[in-house]
Symmetry: C2
Subunit: 470 residues, 2 copies
């Protein structure tokens, strides 16, 4: 007599094997639509991509599949309700738009004419994000087939936006407007990756982001550095001194209150990070950098995943052309971005930075600061029931225990967390070599099908372990 889990795994695999060809044919058809949201002449293609997806989701079995217009490119919303009244509700987030791509950028084949080479599917959007959206279509059907159900074990919702590669300018407004339709117990972001082919991982959080520009105004116009040099405040010198004061000798941010509320890594989390097969030399190659440098007392992975930062994205003032110009510049500016981690409040950080910066302004200099809208950090605790389900489902698909990572970047998922008040989880099967935003983007077909398998197991596991009180 075989073990029930083994039975479930092989039932899912069998179903996927039977339907993989049609699944890949459909994905290839979708990838052929050049839904480049950043290029206005592809606006019609982005709309076509949304309509194609909505119709495919309907065909898959979703009871509802709608194209949602926005002030920009449309999103797709779909819903497949469970007949189980105690079923939890899950909202899958992804995007159907893609980065620009042209053969002459260095592609080995047309980016919108998908081809399979060496069991890899090459096309713009193969991994980011059409492939990782599309595995949910076969995933939910494999879930039904393997369990003999007619409706999923969760209320399954999909929100697939069309402007992620353009900075999601209308996403938050859309989520606010449609919040009643989007309500869920958990958001599953299907737009990230895992450590490597050999090391399946679950991402447990992303950093937040606060951005500002600080401008120092000195003389009303550029003045002659011979006539006045050494006797009036120079705004370029002053802005440099502000930047230099931003970090102490341990590379910690000096802004008073900046670390308020920071959720420190537990010993367990640090141990989990340390388990990952991290090769700093290879990481530096990826970073195109020659040294690791950051907050004392933390590893590189801790620094990029779990520590807040302050980085200069741009600095400028005075004469920057060839040769020289003997001026004291009229003004200078710096663009700073602060990555935030769980427990940090962007409003509090903004206040803290403003107060700190005000204290860095020398006499005779006028300071202006503008903050852009912030993105909150998100973090799912390791013991969250939905996270445990994701880890178990992925473990079944890959046949080995998964490990845990985080994302150093920030994303629109934070808007879902904030507007809906829902925890955000991440399920991704892309690997670093997939070439997001680069020529020859691809997805590994074996991993793509592991994504299908993971989704198939996930809905059953969630429905079983995370029931609503009747």
């Amino acid at each position: 007599m075989s073990h029930p889990v083994d039975n479930a795994v092989s039932a899912v695999r069998t179903y996927i094997e039977q339907h993989r060809a049609a699944f890949l044919d459909d994905l290839v058809a979708w990838l052929r639509i050049p839904s480049v949201s950043a290029q206005p002449d592809h606006a019609q293609d982005v709309r076509r991509s949304a309509e194609w997806l909505a119709s495919k989701l309907e065909e898959t079995g979703f009871g509802t599949a709608e194209v949602w217009p926005t002030a920009g490119a449309p999103a797709v919303f779909a819903e497949w309700l469970s007949e189980d009244p105690e079923a939890p509700t899950v909202l899958v987030y992804g995007h159907h738009d893609v980065q620009p791509a042209a053969r002459e950028d260095g592609w080995s084949s047309d980016p919108f004419e998908p081809v399979v080479r060496d069991n890899r599917l090459y096309a713009r959007g193969a991994a980011d994000d059409k492939g990782q959206v599309f595995f949910h279509t076969l995933g939910v059907r494999a879930h039904l087939a393997a369990t003999g159900r007619t409706t999923p074990a969760v209320n399954l919702k999909l929100l697939i936006e069309g402007e992620e590669e353009s900075g999601s300018p209308h996403f938050r407004a859309l989520v606010e407007e449609r919040a009643d339709r989007l309500g869920a117990d958990a958001v599953i972001v299907s737009d990230t990756g895992m450590w490597s082919e050999d090391t399946p991982t679950v991402c447990t959080g992303m950093r937040g982001l606060a951005e500002c520009e600080i401008r120092f105004h000195g003389p009303d116009q550029d003045i002659h550095s011979g006539s006045f040099g050494g006797a009036v405040p120079n705004p370029a010198t002053a802005i440099a001194r502000l930047v230099a004061a931003l970090h102490d000798e341990h590379a910690r941010v000096t802004v008073p209150g900046f670390y308020d509320g920071v959720v420190e890594l537990t010993d367990e989390e640090r141990a989990l990070f340390a388990e990952l097969p991290f090769d700093e030399r290879r990481w530096l190659d990826t970073a195109k950098s020659r040294a690791a440098h950051g907050e004392a007392g933390h590893t590189t992975l801790e620094r990029v995943w779990a520590r807040p930062t302050a980085e200069v994205n741009g600095i400028g003032g005075g004469y920057q052309g060839p040769g020289s110009k003997t001026i004291i510049p009229s003004s200078a500016m710096v663009k700073l971005s602060f990555r935030l981690v769980a427990g940090q409040d962007p409003d509090h950080v903004e206040k803290a930075v403003r107060a700190w910066a005000a204290g860095q302004v020398p006499e005779g200099i006028r300071c202006e600061i503008d903050f852009a809208p912030a993105t909150r950090p998100c973090l799912t605790p390791l013991d969250h029931p939905a996270l445990r389900s994701v880890a178990r489902a992925m473990g079944l698909a890959f046949g080995k225990p998964v490990r845990y990572t985080r994302e150093g970047g920030s994303g629109p998922a934070a808007d879902l967390q904030e507007v809906l008040g829902t925890p955000v989880l991440f399920l991704g099967i892309s690997v670093p070599s997939d070439g997001w935003h680069a020529p020859d983007e691809k997805v590994e077909l074996d991993l793509l099908l592991k994504g299908v398998e993971t989704a198939a197991h996930l809905w059953g596991d969630l429905g079983e372990h995370w029931r609503h009180a009747p």
Copy 2:
């Protein structure tokens, strides 16, 4: 019986009064030639200006008056030898090219159609520098007429360059090539100004200038600040820290060895500076600045005239456009200029800055430094016999004792000092309101004629007090 000095003063005045109309007509004719050296379509005008001046100097009585070609615009050289074998030799420096000017820049009348309003002559070049060159033509003739001599009491040489407003790119080569013709006991720079109409002053020195660009290279390309922020060195942060380290809390330059050799102000010089009717609020208006700031223990005038400085002329790195871009920039740079004072050696300063900068480069950052050719400082001691002559001559012309200033800027006169090994003195009658390089440039006619008077007295005084051993 009248006093002989009074006689000399009135003899000079009488001669000037008799010839002032013709003198001004000539100057106006010269000012009509738009000798803008920075604009290639005026190259012919610059040549015409040189030829006009050479011919006028010949007519004035100079035995030699030559147009000297350069790789750019031509200079004019003239010489009027003394019959006195013990006469010292003086080389007057000025320039016949002018800054660009156009009516639409805000001029009240055509910049190349000179007009007199309220006893002021308005035209591009009226003060900078044609007016201050031209007063030497009437000055030497007044000297002869008032003393009854047929040759000047000094061997008088003039070198009037044609590219000063374009940065004198070929001046040093010209001086090196013609050094045998230019030999002199003193250089008189006739291209500066004085404190104010009420306060005639003699400038005793200019600061030197060393300029460099320092580039910090980090990642091979801009990298994502989400993925890598907080874990690799940021070249923009590093260049800001270098700039911040350039001055200590007393606004002194921290570069070890920077102050080596600096000739400190004597108590006498500080007292002379302090005697000037300096109004810091008005000076700040001129500087378009809101605060005085500089090296502790020094007044504003000491800071701009007699102290070496380090100023940021430009800083740049990363994204400087509108909005934000979450990158760690690949590189960042700063343009620094160091004003130097007497006793400082530009080569030593360059070595000191290079060594200091090398110590500011964090691990993982690559540093490049380029220095431009430097300009040496020049300073004439207060007790130099030629400086005493200038002060006495100006005192006679203005009817009051003169005071002493310096120039914070740097100029091609330093090349004369260095190549010829000759002390440099300054004789200028322009005032700050003359609007050098600005619309409505003018010269005060009364002051212009005081310049003529000063020159007339100066040659006699120098010939009397600074004789060569026979």
